[in-house]
Symmetry: C2
Subunit: 147 residues, 2 copies
DNA sequence: AGTTTAATTAGAATGATTCTCATTCCTAGT
DNA sequence: ACTAGGAATGAGAATCATTCTAATTAAACT
């Protein structure tokens, strides 16, 4: 398991790799994402960061999230007609969106699946990323499994 | 090939199957989608419907699109941070989003792929739909291919 | 310490979508 | 045909998510 300090170090490292600065705001936003991996919206991230950093603004939350995405530390997930959600899981995975509860679950991908899916692209299409989104119902028991 | 009349008939049929009425607005919206299959936004659909039906309102465009989605005649596609796009292609397919041009292309799925992708879900997850979205660059030549 | 550049902040502005509600249109039942 | 009731539409207001602007603060680099 990776410690929190390592994570922060990783953040600082990634930021400086991209020529960006490590700031208290960015660290708080990132730790909020790591702390509860339920694919929060920017609004939710804001609410969770506020207690630790009461002066933080929504603009900063959006800026920091965008920064983390650029550093490849965070992915975004978009479901139809809802706000963008943020996910700090770096391993290749799909998303399952539970229509009953609104919850989002990470689904591990077997090795090779992404490559296989990419292989359906006709010549001339060069995909930099692939996203797989399931929509449906999950049993309560299954929910505990992933989140 | 399916004629335009059959399509309209199909629309009327699907609507009444769902206990909904066939209206001029719904027909125009649907024919707009069938006419140019470039995954337009609601705003674009509105602009294309206006010449044929000058009094139509955005509210009606949204209502009709939503209705078509409910009848399974149209799918929605969401790319990050953009308006929802609409697609009348009923065959199972993935979407390729060209980051350079903003264009969206349908990508046919080989038989069995959706099932295979669904099979990665752990027990307890029951997916009613799967969406596969690629993001990347397409050569001009490849573009002509799909759209 | 002083300059430069990046980052944050508050609030305004924009964009997309949904809501409200009055009006019009259908459809069914007389 | 006539009318009551529900469905669909239209105009505009309201809401929600996100981006922009301009001013302030913080960090890094002489």
């Amino acid at each position: 398991m990776v410690s929190n300090t390592d994570r922060s170090g990783a953040l600082a490292q990634r930021l400086s790799d991209s020529g960006l600065r490590s700031t208290p705001q960015r660290e708080v936003i990132y730790s909020v994402l790591l702390g509860k991996r339920d694919h929060p919206t920017a609004e939710e991230v804001f609410a969770r960061a506020k207690p630790e950093m009461p002066m933080i603004s929504m603009a900063t939350v959006y800026n920091c999230l965008e920064t983390l995405v650029q550093c490849d530390l965070v992915r975004t997930v978009n479901f139809e007609r809802g706000p963008t959600r943020y996910c700090p899981n770096l391993y290749p995975h799909a998303h399952f969106h539970d229509e009953a509860t609104g919850a989002t679950h990470d689904v591990d991908l077997p090795p090779g699946l992404l490559e296989q899916v990419k292989s359906i692209l006709p010549a001339g299409f060069d995909a930099s990323s692939v996203e797989i989104i399931f929509r449906g119902k999950a049993r309560a028991q299954a929910e505990a499994h992933t989140l």
